[in-house]
Symmetry: C2
Subunit: 520 residues, 2 copies
Amino acid sequence: MVESWVNSAERIGADLLLELSGPGGRRAALIRALREAVRGGRLAPGTRLPPYRSLAADLGVARNTVADAYAELVAEGWLTARQGSGTRVADRAEPLRRAARVAGGVAGRVAGQAPPGERDPLHDLRQGTPDASSFPRAAWLTSYRRALQQAPSEVFGPGDPAGRRELREALAEYLARARGVRTVPERIVICSGFAHALRLLFGRSGSTGAGGDARGENNVGGARGGGVLRGPLAVEAYGLGFHRELLAAAGVRTVPVPLDEAGARVDLLGRERGVLLTPAHQFPTGGPLHASRRAAVIDWARARGAVVVEDDYDGEFRYDRKPVGAVQGLDPERVIHVGSVSKSLSPALRLGWMVLPERYVGGVLAAKGEREAWVSLLDQLSLADFIASGAYDRHVRRMRQRYRRRRDRLVEVLAGHAPHVEVTGVAAGLHAVLRLPPGTERSTVEAAARRGVALDGLAAFRHPRTAMEAGDGLVVGYATPSEHAYAAALEALCGVLAPGGPRSPGIGTAADPATGGTAE
Amino acid sequence: MVESWVNSAERIGADLLLELSGPGGRRAALIRALREAVRGGRLAPGTRLPPYRSLAADLGVARNTVADAYAELVAEGWLTARQGSGTRVADRAEPLRRAARVAGGVAGRVAGQAPPGERDPLHDLRQGTPDASSFPRAAWLTSYRRALQQAPSEVFGPGDPAGRRELREALAEYLARARGVRTVPERIVICSGFAHALRLLFGRSGSTGAGGDARGENNVGGARGGGVLRGPLAVEAYGLGFHRELLAAAGVRTVPVPLDEAGARVDLLGRERGVLLTPAHQFPTGGPLHASRRAAVIDWARARGAVVVEDDYDGEFRYDRKPVGAVQGLDPERVIHVGSVSKSLSPALRLGWMVLPERYVGGVLAAKGEREAWVSLLDQLSLADFIASGAYDRHVRRMRQRYRRRRDRLVEVLAGHAPHVEVTGVAAGLHAVLRLPPGTERSTVEAAARRGVALDGLAAFRHPRTAMEAGDGLVVGYATPSEHAYAAALEALCGVLAPGGPRSPGIGTAADPATGGTAE
């Protein structure tokens, strides 16, 4: 388009190349060019701009075009116009430094919460993630399309903080059938995952600090930041540090409960106001909560007026038998059951649910806010369709078979190549714990890292105030690699664990159990 | 399938109808039937169950089937098995009361945060929501499909808390072009909306209360609950009570800044650490922040080391001129710019963004957590595609024309039927403020409600500690109704406002400006 040297050095103190190009006509182009000149420092703060008439003549545009452009930039604050002193570059605008991204500002990695930037080891066996390459794209798109096309208009307005009724109905049916959960849609609240559920349950109540300032305000709902429960909260002596820290940040004291072969020692519970458990498959050590303990924890909660928070993070995945039902079914008024699609489908969807005792429903909804502020309503409808259409069951079944094969292969390969390493815990979930000889955990994790195998040691999950010692072990997320990458990951792991150190044991592929050949 | 009376009253104390039907074979059916019998109270706690052999004979199933079913229910905690005393119904399980939903537990409605359950007045003119019936379903589905089909597998794994790079790049380009925002993708953090942004910026830092308990924990990231900024924070004397309350709950004292015809009196700012502004279109009073004030607030922030939080909630919608650029462009190191699709597309998507000064990026990411815990990565990719493909611009353009017509019609109709009511504020956004004679606001809002017209008075937005008095007025969300419902809503509004009270003024339709006929 038009280019012109605005050569009026005696007035603006600098030569200025205005490139009147780009979309939107001369006026828009002039505004952009002047703005860029100010931004870039070519027009310094305080500089006086040429009168409309002069610049218009220089650029070959109408005088009004220049006047409009100046007015716009005055309105935006780039220029100032004062009677008598003409139009000048405003005092502010400095050129933008193009900053390198400060990566999280986080020191150190939390086990199970690896920043994605670090998620590119050669072999990723960190727990916590399903096989990302197996997301059922076609089936999910079918549900999303149907949800989008069939949604009533009101879906695109403000949403009910409880979540879409369609989803809560689908979940009530599914959870009863698949997890033995006893509930009704009115007691389900949709959330973005387990961490969100913890925040809604334990978030600070605003009653401390400068909270007195809130007087005179209508102290309603979503503003509160959550908190229907209070500490102290008993937690398993081994678990996700991320959860403990989230609770600590909410002012909740966590009390570690030791584990034995029957699961959490709920017989040791005392005056805590609640207990956070992973009954189906203790995370990370891998055992289920024994039936007598399941009963005992309900008895304790009833006697104490306490509550059980059930983190049912991988309850669908049991390989040696049908999944054991949720503890929630034993007493829906004493157990808060929390689940999500993060292990069954993908953590990318940010879809989870809380099944609540009646008395907490109002408080959790108030903590969540008067409108759905978190979870896409379209995604909620899509998941409702995905469950109701049977696609969810089909996907879980398919992944159950796949992960079961992977676990079997892990056991088999280790038996052959590292017989001193025992795979413990029940055949379930997306991870296994490998027992190591005492004193070797740390060096093994480090040796693995050197060979490009990312995984965590048991120590990474230990409550800092527990007296319990679970011994040395590796937490192996066998679900994490893609199907084609699993055999190589197993091989690399064996290379680390095999007696005599690194070598290539010939693992074969997990995807095709029939293939047993050596890899080299 | 099989039905049988298990008539063994001397052992289990009750007749029990077991319906061995439904999917999954005899064993599963028996488990379900027994579980339901316990749940429903037909098998009372403590009841002794028949031996395997007896029940198996009664039901005509294999003995092992009964043994398996009992074992399952023992594992789930419904039954207990002790050597010598047989299998009994556990002491817990009570029948579930089917509770009525406790609707939010919230007393009173926050202006602009109406619970959806209340959102069914005859005519909804509450502000805050775009026309839900105009969501671009086909175009959004196109972007979603493309995003889903083209996404690399890693999308379905844990996500970067900053948000997908694709979206941050699309936003950096769009915001520069449409809003005059100066930034780079590295300084953008995706969030679920403005309330989420406030929580990330001001959330409590775990350093108070029981925070000492966190010692020994690796006090990392997402656990913290946010908080890169502290109060006191200046806010506009009229604004969303929801935001003030959210801040109060986070322990942030808000200091009201009065408004005049040039916008917020930023010349009155003092020792506050920041100021929250709606510069493009003051919410709710409707004026833009004057150019001199824009400059002044940047000067104040620089001099004080303070920060400006710019709530650019409806910046795309200006009808009388091109939108004024964002204040952020004046000094990207002093302004946090926050936007979302909640007004431009739909609040159902839960997609927003923060454009941050460099020094806050690390802290906000740490507050958000080490992984994306909130916003669907697929939705992020879809929005990136929607923006990059031009669909977003097209939709905004279309809605701008539509809302402009509605606003023009509102002005026109009121001029004809309620000339004493002035429409104030610039021609922008999704709402207008109608000035009322002194002392009539409350009675007018009530009269409107009686006639099925839902809207808010200005008083609903007033900071409880401001000395400023904006006078009487109605906040009319002309964007809220669907296109076909708008004419009737306007007519009803006129019926409330017209001198001499309710009557039918003959409003015509907004959808077709050519139609000026009477409605009766």
